[in-house]
Amino acid sequence: MTDQSQIEALIAKAAIADRRAFSSLYDATSSKLFSVCLNVLHDQQAAEDALQDSYIKIWKKADSYHTNGMSPMTWLITIARNTAIDRLRTNRNDHNAIDEVPELVDEANGPQAHSEQLSEQSRIAQCLEELENEKAEAVCGAYLHGLSYAELATRYNVPLNTVRTWLRRSLLKLKGCLSNE
């Protein structure tokens, strides 16, 4: 895949309505984002629709990218994931829509600041290994597949409050591990 600085440059050009750059951005990132949509929706047609909507948003919001402080792939993945989750939950009549990437202005942490974070990309995977299997799976289920607390409770056959308590405990451990240098 094209590296992060190239993707960043393509987003910047899409922000000034460069269609060719948008086309290259699509070529470089659509396989990743399609996989994001499929992971959430588990349905080819729904994932295709969500992917379309995601790129419409990416084109329209490209000019807000440079101020939000996320690395380029994270921004794109977040848009695709939230678009897919919104679709999933609307279909289920469960209106727990989350904001597409919240419009943040992060002066301190411009896109350039992300080169360090790239090197630690698999750190969360390492930290998840320190959790019990089931707990790590639940965190991944929530992020990768968009599972809600109610769905996690059903899946692990425990009351909703219990699942929330142990997921929060897992997140706390995860945070401890992630902040260890």
Binding site: G69, T78, D99
Partner: protein, 228 residues
Amino acid sequence: MNEHNDSLLVAEYALGLLDDTETAVFEKRLQQEPDIRSDFLNWTEHFASLYVDVDEVTPPSALKEKIQRRLFSDVNTDSVNNEAKASPWFWPVSWISSILFATLIGFIFYQSQQIPFQASYTASLETEDKRLQVVANFDKTRNLLQVSSKKAVPADGRSHELWLIAGDSPPVSLGLLSVINDESFMLPDNLAAVIVGSTLAISDEPAGGSPTGGPTGAVLTTATVIEI
């Protein structure tokens, strides 16, 4: 709320686990509290990196065109059609215009199959050391620009970008050489109208092209588009 609780709330939000009320309250704080914001960015970067290990899946090839059609020619799709369909005239008129349209498309297709690319204008761009040699040919009857390049390997982390400079107007990017290599592409009318006599230029840019919309690096070579 202590710091731990806040950070957990941030993680739960980033995972999409908060309910409607909690989400609304949280999003207000996200806008107002810098600590929460930076915590949110951290969690989001970490979670998104879970996708590093997830296999990519290539979407069907028709999807890209659908997206481009929705974005760049939405005039006759959503809004117009919805109103038009209510009119009793819509279906017959639409039916007839569909036939006309299909005939026209067929005709254009036929023409494009029949007429080979005929360059009537050209520009030859090369650097003094000949490491970069690019020929751009322009077919005025079809607004087609064909670009072929030899030995056009930019330095690591750099790209070669092609520009059109018409008169005193600022340079307009035609694309990266790596992307448009040996490809012919259709120029929009406004560029096709001014390309003859204009200058083509190639500049050295950061990988992926100029981040500003105008050339930022050294101009490697320029040439005027002239009649063959």
